[in-house]
């Protein structure tokens, strides 16, 4: 993963990056940052070079910068929309029971570049194509991304790529009834991103179901991931600041009523 400290791209030079199926070409030219990206098929590009080496015409997205602005940083980020994760099949959690799930979230790449001396976010680009889904009913709801890989009980079974952020979710059934877990709606705004080795991790979260079918479910965010990543390094702070607790609307909402 090229998520590193800032690097320098001097004037009239370019750098290219490849993260998962995402390819990025970034140029510093004429007091401008110019970048273009491809998801999937991308042209073969050297890692860095002089702009005269770029023979093809690209469709650039341009940002004004000042003379002497050279710093660039790529940082991991969560996708822009909340996420829907599913287990391999419906899992029933008995009263007072709990179940730990591991979820692989495809990271986005945030491009930060120096503009008049200030590191400015230029873009947040997904490393995988994500398909949209809907959390709610036909009258109201929230657009989300559907995760292509299933939430798994054991981390070894999680189909995970190096550009995925692993999030551990501990579901605790504090109610006196069985809770069926068929889908998880996850807002990532309060999650921090950590790294351990080549792998990215998110803050662990615990969901407490106090009453079966309750409208609001309590979610508690941990300061670190759980083992084996509890000694990882924090890379990115939560987008909406640090919080310990949050109420998620209908975390376990079923879509049975949608088509009825």
């Amino acid at each position: 993963m090229p998520f590193t400290e800032s690097i320098t791209v001097p004037n009239d030079r370019f750098r290219s990056f490849r993260i998962g199926s995402l390819a990025i070409l970034l140029v510093n030219q004429n007091d401008e940052w110019r970048y273009t990206s491809w998801l999937g098929d991308a042209p073969e590009l050297p890692d860095e070079g002089h702009i005269d080496d770029l023979t093809e015409e690209y469709e650039w997205i341009r940002w004004d910068n000042a003379e002497g602005d050279e710093k660039v940083q790529l940082a991991p980020a969560f996708p822009e929309l909340p996420l829907i994760a599913r287990p391999h099949g419906i899992i029933n959690i008995p009263p007072k029971g709990s179940a730990l799930f591991h979820i692989g979230i495809p990271a986005s790449v945030k491009i930060l570049a120096e503009c008049a001396g200030v590191m400015t976010p230029l873009a947040s680009l997904p490393t995988q194509s994500l398909s949209k889904t809907w959390h709610g009913n036909q009258h109201k709801g929230t657009p989300c991304y559907a995760l292509r890989t299933n939430a798994r009980r054991r981390i070894e079974k999680l189909q995970c790529y190096s550009n995925d952020i692993i999030c551990q979710v501990d579901v605790q059934n504090s109610s006196d009834e069985v809770t069926s877990f068929d889908r998880l709606y996850l807002e990532t705004d309060h999650l921090a991103i950590y790294s351990k080795g080549e792998q990215l991790w998110a803050s662990a979260c615990r969901i407490k179901v106090k009453e079966a079918g309750e409208k609001f479910t309590r979610i508690i965010f941990s300061n670190t991931p759980l083992a084996p990543a509890n000694d990882s390094t924090r890379l990115v702070e939560p987008a909406h600041g640090k919080t310990q607790k949050s109420s998620l609307f209908n975390v376990f909402t079923s879509f049975k009523d949608v088509l009825s």
Binding site: S129, L130, S131, K132, W134, P143, F255
Partner: protein, 300 residues
Amino acid sequence: MLLDSFLLAQSTASADSFDSLIQALPSWIPDWARAKWLVKAIATLLILIIGIPIIRFITTRVAKATSKRLNVSASMLMTKAAKYALYVTLILGVLGIFGVTPTAILGAAGVAGVAIGFASQTSLSNVISGLFLIGERPFRIGDLIEVNNTTGVVDSINLLSCHLRTLDNKMVRIPNETLVKTMVTNISRHPIRRVNLDISVSYDEDINTVTRILKEEIEKHPLALEEPAPLIMFKGFGDSSLDFLVGAWAQQSDFLGVKNGLLQAIKERFDTEGIEIPFPHITLATGKAAATIPAAKRGD
């Protein structure tokens, strides 16, 4: 006759008060500046200069106050009502300078009102319909609606009519009465919408294969929602085709993107898989084949 005498009496009373006002002016003001018409003109100008900004200020405050508590349409209506009421008051004030009192105007309006009432039944109906629309709220400003085969975005809801901006940027004025009487379809009320596509394939094709391909293409489209689940229905046997209904859900903002994208993706996939999309064939016959068939003679 009675009304004329009434207006004359009111006008005389107002003129008397104006005369006393002119006499009360300071002595240093020259005689030429004491001309009644000049004083009246200055007073009118002063009322307009002070009154119009005050009206604008008040209507702005009303708009701000109502926009917090009411929806856009009701807020707009309240603001307009306040604006009209204030301007009527201002005009009455100006007319008062020239000796026309509100009582006189209302008296005249009472007589004229009966005649105007008969003539303005349609307008009144539109006003009342407008109030029903505000109360019932079948649509709001910014909604995409369809009325009598006209589709457009609601630009404004007024006392007499609603203005639609069609998708090709024409303005259509629809009387409120029409909107109450006819069927109105609000296309953008709900956040998600189903994209319905009619797909036909040749009778030679396998129904299960076609269904699988259609499902895969919806799953592949990044903007087509996974949930609610898409609908793929075998509709039946057409004249020369097997007919399917494909329904994929999309957010309102993605509707056109999903529709165009899916149609293109399905066509390309059918081409790759060798699935035939039938189309009507017309055979042109010329020469002998096109000659009229002779009718058989009786007894033949």
